[in-house]
């Protein structure tokens, strides 16, 4: 037991050092890769809070990502708000949507596969709305004017973008760690393991699950803000794509769902696959196909995810 705990601590330390490395690099290419990996890890961690700790297998987390991205883009382009305010606004939209979707579906008793499909339907519905409303710019999306400067939340140095991605990753990982030690997290695990038993012991299952989805949704929405601020563009396909939802799930499942360090490892694995294949084969689809294969292998052979190799019990 102590052996596993020590190994987990060593792993955490190694990952922390790894996140610091890119700051020392002058290669924009490398820093960019690191930034994408950190965002994947942060989004995977956000998914993990609902999907791993809560067992709420969402197939539609892009709904929250897109809400955050559009909240940020619309507020600054249509209402002239400072883009920094996009962060709290996105968190509020993402969190609110998570709470509402959670309350509605969990009250109706939807679980497991049904919940997964409902989240997918929400993401699709949001995508259709974004594609047809005026305020979202319809299919052509929203372009944010270029105004480099910290005051406008736009950075030309990629390392600043990377720092923001790491900050979001740290926030999400802190939230996951709190879950692994606190009362709310224990309630969430109890509901995941056995809802009836949890309720018999006074755990308000619907509220606990909805709160987890709200927290997860808020963090995911923050990822949407970072996307808009680094690419200065959003459209319905980017915001609400099924691929984004699936990637968040993959990162968490491959690394180890319901563990604090799993999504970090998962993001490393996924990006290692992506970057090696991209340098070897240019045909689109090869890397995502490999993710699918890895997912099948992990589910079949190592259901606890890659983190199980490093730590015997994944609660580190």
């Amino acid at each position: 037991m102590t052996g596993a705990a020590a190994r987990t601590r060593a792993l955490a330390l190694a990952l922390a050092v790894l996140t610091l490395l890119p700051f020392a690099s002058h290669s924009q290419f490398f820093v960019n890769l690191a930034m994408l990996t950190a965002i994947s890890a942060a989004l995977g961690q956000a998914w993990n809070i609902a999907g791993g700790f809560g067992g709420l297998t969402s197939f539609g987390h892009a709904a929250f990502f897109g809400l955050g991205a559009y909240a940020d883009a619309i507020l600054q382009t249509r209402y002239g708000l400072n883009p920094w305010l996009g962060l709290p606004a996105a968190a509020a939209f993402g969190g609110g949507a998570g709470w509402l979707i959670g309350t509605a579906t969990f009250r109706a008793g939807l679980r497991g596969s049904y919940f997964a499909l409902v989240t997918l339907a929400f993401a699709q519905a949001f995508g259709v709305l974004a594609n047809s409303l005026d305020i979202t710019g319809g299919g052509s999306g929203i372009l944010v004017a270029l105004h480099p400067g910290a005051g406008r939340f736009q950075f030309t140095d990629r390392r600043a973008g990377y720092a923001l991605a790491v900050a979001l990753l740290a926030l999400a990982t802190l939230a996951a760690w709190r879950l692994s030690v606190g009362r709310f997290g224990a309630h969430l695990l109890a509901v995941r393991e056995n809802e009836d038993a949890a309720r018999a012991l006074g755990v308000p299952a619907v509220r606990v699950k909805s709160a987890a989805l709200a927290l997860s949704g808020a963090l995911t929405a923050l990822g949407g803000v970072l996307y808009v601020q680094s690419y200065l563009y959003i459209d319905p396909g980017i915001a609400f794509s099924a691929e984004r939802s699936v990637e968040m799930l993959l990162v968490a499942m491959i690394g180890g769902a319901g563990t604090v360090l799993g999504p970090l490892l998962g993001a490393l694995v996924v990006h290692a696959i992506a970057d090696t294949t991209r340098s070897l084969i240019t045909t689109p689809g090869v890397a995502p196909m490999l993710y699918g294969v890895v997912l099948l292998l992990i589910i079949g052979l190592l259901p606890g995810g890659v983190v199980r190799i490093a730590a015997v019990r994944g609660d580190g």
Binding site: R183, A186, A190, N194, A197, A200, L201, V203
Partner: protein
Amino acid sequence: MAEAAPLLEVRGLARRFGGLRAVRGLDLDVQAGTIVALIGPNGAGKTTSFAMIAGFVRPDAGSVRFAGRDITGWVPERIAHAGIVRTFQITQPFAGLSVAENIRIGAFLRTRAPAAAMEQARALGSELGLAALLDRPAAALTVAGRKRLELARALAAGPRLLLLDEVMAGLTPTEVNDTVALVRGVRDRGVTILLTEHVMQAVMALADRIHVLAEGALIATGPPRQIAADPRVVEAYLGAGAAARLADG
């Protein structure tokens, strides 16, 4: 018999499943500080009655009052907060959590701080003979261990009224004796208990009052001695082919 208002008052509780009348008009009082048993042959409606009292099954008719409040139709978690905690006949462990973590979920009902709740959980688990298993996953427990865990988890929640659904089924005679002593100890600490049990020896040893259910209807109520001698009760059991159990007891 001038008694204080009972802690639990069940009136006319009824529930159908399709065409089957699982419980038809159950009346039952539980005085604070006593142990009351609800017995009856298989399928009599005992578990369904417990599930209705604890909020897991919505009654078609009737009411449940607890500590002076009407709790009919409340959700289970609210009823648990009010002070009624049930165990499950088919044990329901949090399989992926350790035994201590399982018990801690109960302790969290009254104790917010994680460390304090864990301390309580470990102490209670040790008291109930789970000391060596506290850090093992709950999924690894034997039947007897799982029954213990049900009890420990419920006790950790600090209930005023404990609903025990066959916590002795599947235990060896020695384990039954231990559990009888344990339940009595719980009552002595001031927890009121409503239990169902097929192990008659345990029921007779523990219960202050017994209610007998057959095919959803209450057929007899009284102290253990009177119930044991009641021909209707024997007939209900014999009719259901459970005479052997009585003889065992």
